[in-house]
Amino acid sequence: MALPGQQELTHLEEFMEGVWKQNPVFVMVLGMCPTLAVSVSAVNALAMGLATTFVLLGSTLLVSLMRKAVPKEVRIATYIVIIATFVTVVDYLIAAISLELYEALGAFIQLIVVNCIILGRAEAHASKNPPLRAATNALGMGLGFCIGLFALGAVREILGAGKLFGVALFGPDFQPWVVMVLPPGGFFVLGGWLLLFNWLRRRQGGALKPAEGHVHG
């Protein structure tokens, strides 16, 4: 997000913003409910990431196009209705593509509505930027979210089931670490990733601020 007085970012920088610098999972720690609940396997995590990216892209594009038409007082309500519409679309889309996946993700597809990443992007970025820029930023954020979810899902699947994408990695003697696919495992793995990022950031000399105080749903 370009602050006033700051130089405008190029489109590539805008894209990389969400992938790396402001990664929604590792740096901003946003949208934790779907992150933790759905990341029991790599496939589920990626599906959730793609669904969220779709909603993010669609709604930021629409919000950006309508940014001059929407009165300030009702903007949040407008954003929520726009987001909910796209969520409904993706909800039925997933049900049509794979019923198995639809059941695995459960209510969390509909809960994309209250994912703070989307509302946050709509409010903080798309409402102030032209469509192309908003879409670039949204794609970057979406990709960053996918990467974060995949990092969690892959670790949990490998440790908790000894598989990756359903393919067994270890021999038949592997003892699965079942806790990792249960809710506590989600907390532990995300805690571990945050720890790693904190550590890396400190080694770089603390140029970036720690993620503390940014936590929202």
Partner: protein, 191 residues
């Protein structure tokens, strides 16, 4: 009566909304730095969630029915935003004291995924009206319980000497994981 009691105990302990269903993590992590704010947030959420649970049941059954089911997500989120706004006005008029305590948390509740999640789960599990109310109340009480416990722990963590890279969100996540492990001990209590 026994059924309702079971729903209540089940949602507070066994299927705790934060620890077992992983909903409402946003306020769980965001508002748990201080015990006082955690209690305020807990009560505000309990109030809204119980109302939202009942109201969304009525909307789903009598307004949407079987024809307009695709408007469910959309109408639920609008209903919740409406209830939050209504609660805010109502509390401000009737009890300025309560408003001072809960006021700042009310707008945050709209984006609490538990508040949307419980009505959606009600639909999924085909709960009746009273069941929905109890499910909402139980879920919210469970949320409050966990939030207050977690806030108390985090206050101590602030003062604890944890290794530097762990500081902040990382240690909070791991603490939440341990808490979630403890809550797994309740599984099997009911059903």
């Amino acid at each position: 009566m026994q059924d309702y009691l079971l729903i209540l105990i089940g949602t507070v302990f066994v299927n705790n909304i934060v620890m077992a269903k992983i909903l409402g993590l946003c306020p769980f992590m965001g508002v748990s730095k201080k015990l006082e704010t955690a209690i305020g947030m807990g009560f505000a959420t309990t109030f809204v969630l119980t109302l939202a649970s009942g109201a969304s049941y009525l909307i789903d059954t009598y307004l949407l029915g079987t024809d307009l089911f695709y408007l469910r997500t959309l109408s639920f989120i609008v209903v919740i935003a409406g209830i939050v706004g209504f609660t805010e006005m109502f509390i401000r008029k009737t009890s300025p004291v309560l408003f001072r305590v809960l006021g700042i948390y009310l707008p945050l509740i709209t984006t609490n995924c538990a508040v949307l999640g419980i009505p959606l789960l009600n639909v999924q599990e085909r709960h009746g009206f009273v069941e929905s109310l109890f499910f909402g109340l139980g879920g919210a009480l469970g949320f409050t319980l966990v939030l207050v416990l977690f806030a108390a722990m985090r206050e101590r963590l602030e003062a604890a000497d944890v290794p530097l890279p762990f500081k902040g969100t990382s240690i909070a996540m791991i603490t939440a994981g341990l808490m979630s492990l403890a809550f797994m001990g309740f599984s099997g209590l009911i059903r």
